[in-house]
Amino acid sequence: MGKNHPNVEPYVVSRVRALESLLIEKGLLSPDAIDAVIERYESDTGPLLGARAVARAWLNDEYRALLLTDPVAAIAELGGQAEELCVKEDTSEVHNLVVCTLCSCYPWSVMGLPPKWYKEPAYRSRAVVEPREVLAEFGCFPSEETEVRVWDSSAELRYMVLPARPEGTEGMSEDELAAIVTRDSMIGVAAVPTPAGV
């Protein structure tokens, strides 16, 4: 384990290290397995797979239909392996927002690490009761006519939003589109920003 842990009490770091070394000593944990996971999450933290799926869905109606009806197959097509996944599409009538009020369930396999705020009490307590207020804090203002749907991930199904494609992105390639899809837009707290210079 490296030494990058400035924002936590030293006791917590000692506790992690103690548990790690005890589990290795007992043969319950392979030291290699730990290193592999650490490397994975220290280097690969982006919502890459989810962003790729969104970009492809914007360009390809058939893929879009697959992503909405069989997300696990749609993610497999991109070479990924998703847990039980549900994809909810934003339209002119519907804006989707994902939360987990009981813990912090999140589609790690397609969206990488959850942001800090997603796991904290302010977001988890408020998203189900005042989603419009929460969205406003993120600078997102669905119209009064738009239905805001909040998905509380209370079982083993994970939720991802298929956000609307921003204007001014006509002619962009899948790679270019994937690069503008944000993690926040797939949680549902923000629209995908129109790229600069458009």
Partner: protein, 228 residues
């Protein structure tokens, strides 16, 4: 359990702090330990969540998120006699004194050869053996319960009327699996709730909440249900 983890609808937590620092090394190690203990079948996902729910409530609110995981894992490992709490404490003391030490230097015995642990299938989806009790569009009411153990029915959605939006399939039942009382696979539904039902005095227009609910949480609602 009606624990501090069940946050939906609570007041007083203020604005959302959008600061999002990069993952720290100790957090990555916790993620690694969680993954390894789950894959090896030492701790199932429902035990893990229930381990976190039993944190000291004040500590839950004031500690970093991955400390929740650490605390929950340590609790379960101690309860299952996989790690002796005294042994853990003395090793914590060692790392407090020797923060630069390696995992090997902290050991009091040579590491045991890695045990042949079964690689557990982590998915919770199961083949149906009984028909689903509810169908899309059915009016339901969630049970008004107060269970001391693990449950995935949040407080804000208990005793509330809603409508079945989707039938998801059959999954391991967390309420029993968390206590090692069997998987009891049960149907899971997406249930739609109108905000006025959840928050009669204080709801936002044109908002709606969908919850994934296990069949035992639901009863058929025979009185009229408007909207939804």
């Amino acid at each position: 359990m009606d624990g501090i983890h069940d946050l939906g609808g609570m007041h007083g937590f203020g604005h959302i702090d959008r600061d999002d620092p990069p993952l720290e090394a100790w957090e990555a190690a916790v993620i690694a330990i969680q993954g390894a203990t789950r894959r090896a079948g030492l701790i199932n996902i429902d035990e893990f969540r229930h381990g976190i729910e039993r944190m000291e409530p004040g500590h839950y609110l004031t500690s970093p998120y991955f400390e929740h995981w650490l605390d929950g894992i340590a609790r379960i490992l101690a309860e299952k006699n996989l790690v002796d709490p005294d042994e853990l404490e003395s090793r914590i003391a060692f790392f407090d004194e020797h923060p630069e030490a390696t995992a090997r230097e902290a050991m009091t015995a040579a590491p045991a050869p890695p045990r042949e642990l079964p690689r557990v299938h982590l998915g919770t989806s199961r083949a149906p053996t009984v028909a689903a009790k509810f169908a899309e569009g059915d009016a339901i009411r969630t049970r008004l319960t107060h269970v001391p153990g693990h449950t995935r029915l949040p407080r804000y959605a208990r005793g509330k009327r809603g409508r079945i939006h989707l039938v998801h399939g059959v999954h391991v039942y967390p309420d029993t699996n968390a206590h090692l009382q069997g998987e009891d696979p049960t149907w899971v539904y997406s249930v739609r709730f109108d905000p006025v039902e959840l928050w009669p005095d204080d709801y936002e227009d044109r908002t709606v909440v969908y919850l994934d609910a296990f069949e035992p949480y639901l009863v058929a609602e025979r009185s009229g249900l408007s909207g939804a």
